[in-house]
Symmetry: C2
Subunit: 1001 residues, 2 copies
């Protein structure tokens, strides 16, 4: 900002501050309970976390006992509580046996009061009454309906209907309202603004909004937006489409544009842009250009953005570029930059400046003055219940201000409350700095560009040198998830699927000792959604070919074993680069050969890449002999050596990831591999040949021998030349391998090592305080993602009695919203199962389930292809077969437990111990689950599939596996034997002193 | 030292320095090759190590090729060599194809010349000639015969005979020598000193000198000392008994005292004391008192001591108190202190001051003057070939000096040479500081007490805070080895064996669920050296009792599993303390129940203690959940849980250590144990009950069920309630367990995990450049220690053709020196084998061996008890049964290999891969062995038994085991399953930031 203008901004800001001098927002008023809580939270991070989490769970604490328990779990015994919590009770003089009840009452009252601060009413009537009051005080409003997450068509309808009802109520009243300000037009506030102003959250209007199905999501949202819009227009009102998280940004922009083009001449349609998004510097000019191109007038509410933590965490978790500015002042600067651009386009774009930041507001005022923008082309907005001095100041200076007024139920209100609390306790909150910390006004009013530069310099000074991983590689990071917010990622799938389709039906040879080998026996692999479509015809290895492969592996072994670990690792790094280059194409093959959804297919390929990158680094680490003991005069080196020939037997459900994981672990550890893919994903198995061949892996190190298990399975397992078997698949076959492989045959070199991952019968527990907004979609995804064909999939959901009905109602409703059909169409939530055999088994289990319990939901399925319905069966008890046996398909058993202990007991009651999940907001129950829910991978408050290499090392015990953990720090140890070499370094009484000797001090 | 005296000492020292100003010992003369080597060695530690090691191996390089190869291996290609080595060859102008031969010649000539510097002659004749020359220059001598390590009675005789021959030669000549100095007596130097002065190394007179058999060692040495002494006395000569390493110090003192009492009136018998030994401050007054008590006159040569590195390293390796002063100046101070004490007792003690340190020499001179000690009561000695300016100075001032003159063969001469080179290149060497570094004279002459104080202060300043191990415990250290240099340790064994003998024959119950349980069936355990002696009568568990034990373990499991890992570890720490308290008693039981030698028995108990201490710490480390991945908003904790009921099946050969190791690992990991000891060491097995009971281990966590394998073995292994089997024993039983345990029975919770250590057929390779002084005793010990009944024992020795004859001759000679008999008598090298069955099997193998090869040695055995002869069989080829099958007894197969490659090939040619050894001084062969000698534990240049917990994690692969390593960092992982708990910590978009989050910078 040029210095002249900046001086004016600062001058105006100072004036602003002086007009409100001495005033405090109620938020920071330490005389009241909320102010105390805010004060304590800012001083004590742990309390803040507990307090805000407690506020979040509070609405679900529907009984006195639940409330009492949670208070204790979150804040400790009453005597240990921070005074801010216990004071109320103490003042009531009722400590002791009545303490709990009193505390409950005090907290309940206080939290409800706190929520009321920010929420204009709990229902339409109350909201309207309060908004009318606000108008009397000179404030305009924009009203917004709070809602739980929308998880079904029904819930979307409810949300929409609330708006319609609100609008109906307003219809009868708004014309009676006296317009604000004294401007001629009797029907418009300030002479130009509709009195009715409504904001809507688009994702609340469609429960499956997902950028993977971009077009479907836009249209589904638009369907309900249109109905609301029509009604708003009937009232000559203003409709603003709110922006939500980054994931849905482009969908929402598209919804807005389509809506706008349906009402090209109705100017009271607005959208929100978020200055904290890096994209907004592109999105804003693009939108303005679009408006000019289409000759329409638009309105933009510019906010800074309220999901900074969320967006940052999500991006970090998925290894995406962080979509938000990481320096707070960068958002402030972006805001000023973008506000100016909007003001410069005031002829076609109305501007709502939504900020509590006095610097920002002053800047907008001065820029508007400089650009001579007339008052009717811009306005100011602040949130209801916040920053009272600011709104007062604006009203005084600008003569117009609009309050953003949410209303609705307590439950979603608490989520809204937490966001507000967070916002105001953040270190960088303008309000906190201004009103709770009395920061220097000069600093508060500083040009944010200057602040950014200072902050950047400070960070650069603190910058640590780039961390190095093993062998000088960059540290391991999970490969980024597919990002369907990107148009290029969305476009790749149809393109690659079409390209792959051109290559279907080819013949695939075996690969032995570095050579392609044909066999007479072949088997086709087909598209399960369209069995007539042959994906490939694969040569089948018999015992002769398997014998040759073992011999090739055995003969390649000595040289491969003696290749330095770091050099072996380099082949994996190369293989990873190749798979990365081909990621979309490899994903497309999975969509067609095994029916994975786009994201599932992509995740399988990235997991394969992760295994390659992770094991490469692990091997470099383990490859260095480690000195053990440090007595002088002796050197003891502990190191690892490979076992020999490894048979790797892979499943079809993660056809690249699991096969690649087991094979690459074996290979990088120095073993040579005979790889048997599943018959129904042998083409994907062949991709491993392509990848390793391109990576230059020496001949014989990786041999590819698809084959009929009945013909060559035992032969491979029994071979005395095989030293290691890595298997992932069913319990039956796993146990058979374990049993057979334990026999030592004459001439056998090693006792066979078995790395074995088998089945699961995984349960998710829904506690009585669970956040159902989270639990329902996660359970649905865990149970039915990739048709439930994951060993990690949720196949039992154990719901506590208290929330059973509500949970099931929402779960079934959400299930109803989903579609079953070919996975190549991203509109389908669920696709075909693996093959006819799988289809038959699953349908049999569904029938068993129907007899043991009752059907809660059963979806429709297409007539062609190996489809089975999405099936939810209620009334299941632990003794039922579908509560005990692995189904490996989309059949979910629902069990009603009387309490958490029983839920844990049932969860543990099968012979498996693979994954499990718990949705709970009880600290004690979460701790109990950590201890007692004994599975290999337990997930708290999230889905229980999708373990990531390095982060969620995967595998279970009991009949689920032998305690190995793929993608974990101990995994490679199973593929090697440790050796120790001890050298006496003393000769003639003389021993060289080593740096780490325990020598005399 | 009082300051007046100190001033005089410093004054005299300065005068001393001034008289020799400008002179340099030939050692530091950079004009000559040796001076260059010394100079380069002082500047370059790596070169020094290589050079001194090369000098050590040099005499064994008997062919041009060996020499050329070693030069390259030690110093690199000629072009890369330091100039000091290659110059000679370069000067000869013969680089290129003749380079190697020239270099050989140059190095050979130079090294031989270097050795001649310190050695007065290679044979008696030459030595006498040179000593006569010295006398002409005014120097007296004390002559000493260099010798290889004495490994047999024959070698001891050879050594003794060399002295006798020397004395015979001197006899005919010494009387013709003109006495030194002009003092009346024609037959005595300086008027009082015998012209013939001889020093002997006592351990060269008996090959098995060992403080464990103190009395036997003293008498055996004395036998030959007497013969030499008699001859010396015939010549009116002086005999000095040299001191060697600390291990033999008390033996040598005792030898001296007994000899002295045999010649109470012959005053020319001396002994050496070493000022660097901390003990000398006690030993010296004790010896003086002894002399007074016995009214005899003695002579003491006081030296500083030449084995500082060796003593320190040995002590550190065995966790003994370091016997030497750790600050050089402390030795100097001790020297002055002790010299004064000797001088104060000059009436009964003649003093030989042996030092090159001008401060020390000056101090002795001034103290003698102060104490008015007459010249005939003390003299000065320096080493031949060293410190020429010093000896010249002394001669000038004192008028008398004696040179210590070693003579003999090149081979032992090289060892002597290395010691001298080391001594003079040490940073703290007085000569180095004085003549190679021109240190400040003031500093060189400083009172060592002052130096000590300064050094202590400097070390204190550098002192790091005490290192803490896991859980605040002190870091793991191996329990100290038994120290038979201590009289109390020696005395404990007979005492404890006698005490244990009082308790033999008792009945021992089972121990199930914390209760003693009797069974009708019992079996006796007997002393194998005296089978009529019943050690105990042990109840035998049948299937019923085993079933009860499994049930007890199963029911104790949940509570034990849920006990915090650190608390579980505390039980092991307590158990270790109990075993430590009982160490001698527990050892005594082993001597009687299984025939372990004292040291072997003690080592078994300390190994048990080590396992307890080590696994306790490992579990504390592993017990802490580890965060994996650091994406914000999610916490992934990786941790371990026990498997359940563990069957622990232990062998008899390490009856406490291995049983305790397996059981304690299982227990500390949280499993509950059903323990089956071997039938023949069940009383020792019962000690584990005693220890765990005293430690307070909860009932059912450790259950003791000795029993007949044929009755209850399969039942235990097959039990569906057993989740883990830890077994150490034979391959046959190991493989049977692996096979049976792989079957999963209905109701079985887990796939059984097998931790299994089986047999070995371990080879030691003797390379053509091996140091046989080391190789022979280490092979003998590795093969026959505890009768070869260790899975680690050497059962094949593969000797390279070039050294075969010499090695075998020395090995067999040494074997002949050993005795076979009950282990309770420390004179016996070998005891009885485990039982009659073992005896029979071993004897059968010995017979097979006799047919396959030829007997090189077969010892006598006592008639009573399960004794088999120590047997060495030559002419064995890889295809022979005794080259392939485990014998588990004292039968050693000897194989002659044509070269190192063949030796490695043969070593690897069995189905086992447990331990191995190599004696070689070829850097390339050692590196090759590291790579290619594929065994679990490979030992270079030392015995291949006695793996220590933490330092030599133990276990093999192939048919020796399943790749677990007891006492190693991965061992406990086999007793647990990893689990991961993943928590989504984000609620309402708010995730607490963890310290190690990968958060935005």
């Amino acid at each position: 900002m040029n210095s002249e203008l900046n001086s004016k901004v600062v001058g105006r800001g100072k004036e602003f501050f002086s007009t409100i001098s001495g005033e405090k927002p109620s938020l920071f008023n330490k005389g009241a309970w909320m102010g105390k809580v805010m004060d304590w939270s800012m001083k004590n991070e742990t309390f803040k976390i507990q307090m805000f989490r407690f506020v979040d769970v509070f609405p679900s604490l529907t009984t006195g006992k639940l409330l009492t328990d949670h208070i204790r779990e979150y804040f400790g015994e009453e005597k240990d509580m921070p005074p801010v919590l216990s004071t109320g009770a103490k003042v009531a003089g009722m400590l002791g046996s009545f303490g709990g009840a009193v505390l409950n009452k005090v907290l309940t009252t206080n939290i409800q009061e706190m929520a009321r601060q920010f929420v204009v009413g709990e229902n339409t009537k109350e909201a309207i009454k309060n908004m009318e009051k606000l108008r009397k005080d000179g404030f305009a409003f924009v009203v917004d309906v709070l809602g739980e997450a929308t998880l079904s068509e029904h819930e979307a309808d409810v949300y929409m209907n609330t708006y319609l009802e609100l609008l109906d109520s307003l219809k009868s009243q708004y014309q009676d309202w006296k317009p604000l300000g004294n401007y001629g037009n009797a029907n418009l506030d300030w002479g130009h603004a509709p009195k009715v102003n409504v904001a809507i959250k688009p994702t609340a209007l469609f429960c499956l909004a997902n950028p993977q199905d971009f077009e479907g999501s836009v249209e589904a949202i638009l369907k309900r937006v249109r109905i609301i819009a029509k009604k708003v227009i009937e009232l000559d009102g203003f409709l603003c489409i709110d922006m939500e998280s980054y994931r849905h940004k482009d969908i929402i922009l598209e919804v807005y544009k389509r809506l706008k083009l349906e009402y090209p001449d109705y100017d009271q349609l607005g959208i929100v842009l978020q200055a904290y998004l890096v994209d907004t510097d592109q999105d804003l000019p693009a939108l303005l250009k679009w408006a000019r191109d289409n000759k329409v007038k638009i309105s933009i509410r510019l906010v800074k953005g309220a999901y900074w933590d969320y967006e940052t965490v999500k991006a970090k978790q998925n290894d995406w570029k962080i979509p938000v500015w990481t320096i707070k002042a960068e958002s402030d600067a972006a805001y000023e930059r973008q506000a100016r651009m909007i003001l410069e386009n005031a002829d076609i774009c109305h501007f709502a400046c939504a900020s509590h930041n006095i610097r920002t507001i002053s800047a907008v005022m001065e820029m508007a003055r400089e650009l001579k923008v007339s008052d009717d082309r811009y306005e100011f907005q602040v949130l209801y219940g916040m920053a009272e001095p600011v709104r007062k100041g604006i009203l005084k200076v600008a003569g117009r201000i609009r309050l953003y007024c949410p209303y609705g139920d307590m439950v979603p209100g608490m989520g809204y409350l937490v966001r507000r609390l967070l916002e105001n306790t953040a270190n960088e909150s303008f309000l906190r700095q201004s009103f709770a910390e009395d920061a220097q006004i000069e600093r508060l009013l500083e040009d944010p560009i200057v602040t950014v530069e200072r902050e950047k310099a400070a960070r650069a000074a603190k910058q640590k040198p780039e961390e190095k991983g093993p062998g000088g590689l960059k540290p391991f990071f999970n490969e980024a998830m597919v990002d369907f917010t990107r148009a290029d990622h969305r476009a790749e799938f149809p393109k690659q699927i079409a390209a792959v389709r051109q290559q279907l039906g080819k013949n695939y040879p075996l690969f032995i000792g570095g050579k392609e080998v044909k066999s007479a026996d072949t088997l086709p692999s087909v598209n399960p959604a369209k069995p007539s479509e042959v994906v490939g015809v694969i040569c089948q290895a018999g015992t002769k070919e398997v014998g040759e492969a073992i011999a090739a592996a055995k003969s390649a072994f000595p040289a491969w074993r003696d290749t330095a670990p770091a050099d072996r690792a380099q082949y994996l790094i190369k293989a990873a680069a190749i798979a990365r280059r081909r990621v979309f194409e490899l994903s497309a093959w999975q969509v067609l050969e095994i029916g994975k959804q786009w994201d599932q297919a992509y995740a399988d390929v990235t997991e394969a890449i992760d295994f390659l990158e992770y094991y490469a680094r692990e091997m470099i680490k383990l490859g260095k002999p480690k000195r053990v003991g440090n007595a002088p005069g002796e050197l003891n080196h502990y190191f690892y050596e490979p076992k020999g020939v490894a048979a790797v037997i892979a499943p079809w459900n993660f056809p690249l990831a699991i096969g690649m994981g087991m094979a690459s672990a074996a290979i990088v550890a120095g073993n040579c591999v005979v790889f048997k893919p599943s018959g129904i994903t042998s083409v994907i198995g062949w991709h491993m040949v392509e990848i390793f061949r391109e990576a230059g892996l020496p001949a014989g190190v990786f041999n590819y021998t698809p084959g009929r298990g009945s013909v060559m399975g035992d032969y491979l397992v029994d071979s005395p030349d095989v030293s290691l078997i890595a298997f992932t698949g069913s319990m039956e076959i796993g146990l058979r391998i374990i049993d057979r492989a334990a026999k030592v045959y004459p001439g056998q070199e090693n006792v066979k090592k078995i790395v074995c991952e088998m089945g699961g019968k995984n349960a998710i527990i829904i506690d009585d305080d669970a956040d159902l907004d989270e639990a329902v979609p996660h359970v649905l995804y865990s149970a039915f993602g990739f048709q439930g064909q994951k060993c990690s999939a949720c196949s039992r959901v154990i719901v506590l009695d208290a929330v059973y009905d509500k949970f099931i109602e929402r779960l079934v409703s959400m299930a109803k919203a989903t579609l079953v059909g070919p996975s190549e169409d991203p509109a389908n939530y669920m696709g075909a199962v693996a093959d006819d055999k799988a289809m038959k088994t699953i349908l049999e289990y569904a029938e068993i389930g129907k007899k043991e319990g009752h059907v809660l939901y059963e979806s429709k399925v297409p007539s062609e292809g190996y489809f089975v319905p999405m099936t939810i069966i209620g009334g299941i008890k632990p003794e039922h077969r579908i509560a005990q046996e692995e189904i490996f398909g989309p059949v979910l058993a629902v069990m009603r437990a009387k309490d958490f202990d029983q839920a844990i007991e049932w969860a543990n009651s099968t012979k498996f111990a693979l994954t499990g999940g718990v949705f709970s907001r009880s600290p004690e129950h979460l701790a109990q689950a950590r201890r007692e829910f004994r599975v290999g991978n337990l997930y708290l408050n999230r889905n229980n599939t999708g373990a990531l290499v390095g982060r969620q090392p995967f595998g279970g015990s009991r009949m689920s596996g032998v305690g190995t953990k793929a993608g974990g720090p101990d995994y490679l140890l199973h593929f090697m034997d440790p050796r120790v070499v001890t050298e006496n370094t003393m000769r003639r009484g003389f021993a060289p002193v080593e740096e780490d000797d325990d020598w005399v001090a």
